[in-house]
């Protein structure tokens, strides 16, 4: 049997109880055998500063190495002020450098927006769809994933209990697995 594809789940929020983190963990549980999903959280990352590029901090190198060793990345993100969190944009800025050598190039990309409210993080997803094309591998487009009212989907222990969301994630993982196989196969 072939090795599973190595996929980084990039979690867009630093909050310990972040819904994006819970979705990431739910994805891990639901993933098919063909995918090995690893959580990539951003709490140890420093700010991008071009002055440091000649001698980049260890945390930048670690992020880049993790992505380069992956077959794909799924961004799971909340929406802050009609865009992605600064924390996530900073990680993307670091990953994208040095110029022309983005660590996201070649990776099969997934995007899952979520919000406690009704819009499901659509404005964060839309910004990602304009940010990534020049610095990443191909973005899976469908099914579109805007998980609204996400607070209702998990129980007190952080377990995904809402069946409709579970079905969305399964359907997404299925499409994503096909996408990875097409581009990395």
């Amino acid at each position: 049997m072939a090795s599973p594809y190595k996929i980084a789940i990039v979690v867009g929020s630093l909050r310990k109880e972040a819904f994006s983190l819970k979705i990431g963990k739910a994805l891990q549980k639901l993933a098919p055998d063909a995918l090995k999903l690893d959580l990539l959280t951003l709490e140890s990352l420093s700010f991008f500063n071009q002055d440091l590029e000649a001698n980049p901090p260890a945390d930048w190198l670690k992020l880049r190495d993790t992505l380069k060793a992956s077959d794909g990345a799924i961004f799971v993100t909340p929406e802050y002020n009609r865009s992605i969190p600064g924390v996530l944009k900073n990680a993307i800025d670091i990953a994208s450098r040095p110029y022309g050598q983005s660590s996201l190039n070649g990776l099969a990309i997934g995007i899952i927006g979520n919000s406690p409210g009704a819009q499901g993080g659509v404005s964060a997803v839309k910004h990602l769809q304009t940010i990534l094309p020049g610095i990443s591998g191909p973005i899976l487009q469908q099914p579109e994933m805007y998980l609204g009212m996400i607070g209702e989907a998990f129980d007190d222990k952080g377990e995904l209990t809402k069946d409709s969301v579970k079905q969305f994630l399964l359907k997404y993982l299925d499409a994503y697995a096909t996408w990875v196989a097409l581009h990395k196969g």
Copy 2:
């Protein structure tokens, strides 16, 4: 004579020789008496994390207090990966909180994009125009400011030497001063 309006120049890049910083300094030199421009750089800011909101770090409070004590803010920003730098988005995320109490509300807002290449940071400006409306005072719309080929505008000492850019900045400051007076007058 009336006191000048207090305006924060928010510099979107951490680089010491950032063009955005040089533009900020040029704006200071060119500003009319009605405007007092202070540079607001972001190097001492930490990452936004909702877990810290109950007891926010001193650097968050300082940013918020500086903005609240201002009549306006002009964002001078490069474009990173077709959007604003993560560093700047993070500052905006911090400024926007707590929910409903954004420190940018009520301020007269200006936006100046720039880039070493031809596009002048237009994609960064466009993202800001969708990020700010719900959390800031009114954004000056014209003249549009996309300063391309910005590397040619400054000499070795960081002085603005390109006359066309100087004229753009003067025209912008004139429109911005009118904008501030209209909204804060």
Copy 3:
């Protein structure tokens, strides 16, 4: 008593029973005395084509004249494919010309998104916020208007019956009237 401000309600959809049209009519009923709201529907408009600019069709001139004779314009729009309808973008393209002489310049601008689903047309509003700044007067930013589940707001006769939506529209009209007075005063 002063004459009321003359405001064009630009309706983004051609459908006879369009929710955007119903919202426009509801705004007319709810408007304060300071505002005179006229519906501007787009069914008689032709496509923009630069070859016709030297000798523009009568429908273009009528649109431009109507806008120029107005103090403001409120765009009420559905979302088609994560943006504004082509019909509305075409009207804006016509209004924006000739270059540098946009009929929307100087007008106080409002934007109200709506959708039968949960997102309230937010992606249409976000695109408008990037389309208009260079060719229109100042855009009112708050309150943000994303009217979701709009189908539940009207009865069979097209009357606005949902009280929360009525309250949103009243609050919006109040802010808009202040905005017009500030800029056209």
Copy 4:
């Protein structure tokens, strides 16, 4: 030898001497044998109106049939007011319907922006990247195509004479041919 892939070049402007049309014709001349490029211009299209959906006009059906019979579509578009022309958005609205049956689904998508000025239509391309994902097949992301100063690229007879643009188009066609082959097998 296998039949070439059938690709529609969707031209975003109605102008007879449109640069987008000239780029389309240049693409036809430069295309490899694996691609058969047909120009799809929009001058005979009517406006989308949901009231007509039960009995759609012939021009809508023709557009949809043409796209459905294609393996891919390359959008070549100018930028009007920081977005795509209304003419092009209207065509996309028509192609996207009926709901869930978009004629663009399954097609390998390319996007080429252009402008007489320096920005190369980047804001039009960025809007397309947020409009299409839910209603089209996979969008080729790299190389990014923002053809600025496009007026200098063609001679009086509309022939592409600027070698750097020719090289960009050749490189793009090469990447696009690989993209089509990957997705249409």
